[in-house]
């Protein structure tokens, strides 16, 4: 990399604190100018089992009753990449870099084909997880943070980021009470040991720390996800309403 590039990266980089909602975080997609798009991007983030999906469904219902057009999107749902990601996960051949890049490709596909068109058309876009999930998972795996932030520089900064936060004990209780622990969510690829419970606990704790460390950098609105579904939803609606109808 040339010297100028590093200087540029500092000026344009998302770590500089100059985050503008609805704009690209860092280096843009030059062929997709998004200035003046009327839509709003709202991200709901958090680890497994914090109830993101439920909250988004309820939020969508409420927004639509109020007359807002809503588009939902999630992490790894693009038709282009889904089969490849599933294949890579099942064969356990992913190393951390290809892991990160596959998810970034998937995200780029959804950004260009779902999110940007929806923002252009004036929809409220609700995204179940956003780039922070990728940043947290990669961060835990030791991928260079500055590199990651450049990589996701083409992401659009959401207008609102809600972070549904739980402690690791609540998380473990919920996961065991529902579908159980799986290989990837337990960070077994990190090879901390053969015990899936210990690995899950250590991994999720690290993830929680990563999210916490991003809260200021990316302007998270942190919500206590140990509360009841209704309580969390009330809080979400209050904040969304204050933003959409100030």
């Amino acid at each position: 990399m040339s010297n100028t590039s590093e200087a540029d990266a500092v000026i344009d980089g998302p770590t500089n604190g100059g985050i503008k909602p609805g704009k690209y975080y860092g280096r843009s997609i030059p062929y997709l100018p998004i200035n003046g798009y009327p839509g709003k991007l709202i991200a709901v983030e958090g680890t497994d089992s914090v109830g993101r999906t439920t909250q988004i469904e309820l939020l969508r219902e409420w927004l639509e009753v109020k007359g807002y057009g809503v588009v939902e999107t999630g992490w790894t749902r693009s038709p282009l990449m889904q089969p490849t990601i599933e294949l890579a996960k099942s064969s356990n051949t992913l190393n951390k870099l290809t892991f990160v890049l596959l998810y970034a490709t998937d995200f780029a596909d959804r950004l260009e084909k779902e999110i940007i068109p929806a923002l252009k058309a004036g929809f409220v876009v609700l995204t179940d997880r956003y780039i922070f999930t990728a940043l947290a998972r990669a961060g835990v795996r030791g991928v260079d943070r500055a590199w990651l932030r450049n990589l996701y520089g083409f992401a659009i900064a959401p207008h609102l980021v809600f972070y549904l936060k739980v402690d690791v004990d609540t998380l473990i209780g919920r996961v065991l009470g529902s579908r159980g622990m799986d290989f990837w969510e337990s960070g077994m690829d990190l090879k901390h040991g053969d015990d899936i419970y210990d690995s899950f606990r250590a991994y999720q704790q690290k993830l929680l720390r990563e999210y916490t460390s991003m809260a200021d950098e990316f302007h998270f609105r942190t919500l206590d996800a140990r509360r009841s579904i209704d309580k969390i939803q009330d809080e979400l609606r209050r904040q969304v309403q204050a933003f959409l109808e100030p």
């Binding site: 990399m1 040339s2 590039s5 590093e6 540029d8 990266a9 860092g26 280096r27 843009s28 997609i29 030059p30 062929y31 282009l80 990449m81 089969p83 490849t84 294949l87 890579a88 051949t93 190393n95 870099l97 290809t98 890049l101 596959l102 970034a104 490709t105 780029a108 596909d109 950004l111 260009e112 084909k113 260079d144 500055a146 590199w147 450049n150 990589l151 520089g153 083409f154």
Partner: protein, 236 residues
């Protein structure tokens, strides 16, 4: 930020790269280079651009449906590259082998920028790459490369001809426009990354002589360097 592409690697092996547009003859030259190095007693491993099994499915789906955008095209190739770097390039380098790469990150820099992706973003994207010991850039005028491709009666491929950009419905015209811009991008890279320019207009044997002269400066061989020209004097 990582700066591997600007910093020499410390592996015992050597990484040699050939670059150039389609029809520049780089693959032919790489093949001859591999033969020679093997005959000299070196262990040689060849790796090709966009060849990992991992992303093949996605690339195929995307290409078939013409569904790739410049960004997803760029990221898929970076994924393929990362996969090959970690499985096919770094291990042989650690084992002291000579790795010959048919296209490298520079292909991405040239093509992705031509497709309108941010130049600096792509450079930083590939900043995890290993810096090659030698990069040979086979520079060729568009007409020469088109003549070669036509003579082989190959059908110009959709993405190679830049048909996804919609600049021309005629594949030949599109190739001319697209690869013309790719050549401009390569010219930027020559200086930025110190690529060795080899004129790809001469005969195959002549080119190979130049190639072996250049390579012999970095790898122990019985080859006697015939010319004292520096790479910079090889410009077209």
């Amino acid at each position: 930020m990582l700066n591997n592409l600007t910093k020499s690697h410390e592996y015992p092996g050597k990484l040699l790269v050939v670059e150039g547009i389609d029809g520049s003859g780089k693959t032919t030259q790489l093949g001859l280079l591999a033969k020679w190095l093997a005959a000299e007693g070196h262990k040689v491993f060849v790796t090709e651009w966009n060849s990992s099994a991992l992303v093949k499915a996605a690339t195929k789906t995307g290409k078939k449906k013409n569904a790739l955008t410049p960004m997803t095209f760029s990221l898929l190739h970076a994924t393929d590259f990362a996969d090959r770097l970690l499985y096919n390039i770094i291990p042989p380098l650690k084992a002291g082998m000579i790795v010959l790469a048919d296209r490298y990150a520079y292909t991405a820099f040239a093509r992705d920028a031509t497709r309108g992706v941010d130049r600096q973003w792509v450079r930083e994207l590939y900043s995890f790459a290993v810096r090659p010991d030698v990069t040979l850039y086979f520079r060729v005028p568009i007409d020469v490369s088109l003549d070669r491709l036509m003579a082989r009666r190959v059908k110009l491929k959709f993405y190679e001809a830049g048909m996804d950009m919609g600049w021309s419905a005629n594949p030949i015209e599109s190739f001319r426009l697209f690869q013309g811009k790719v050549l401009d991008e390569y010219d930027r890279l020559v200086e930025e990354f110190g690529l060795n320019v080899v004129s790809a207009v001469g005969s195959i044997t002549e080119q190979q002589r130049v190639v072996r002269d250049l390579v012999a400066r970095h790898i122990h061989t019985t080859h006697v360097v015939e010319s004292a020209e520096t790479p910079d004097e090889q410009h077209v």
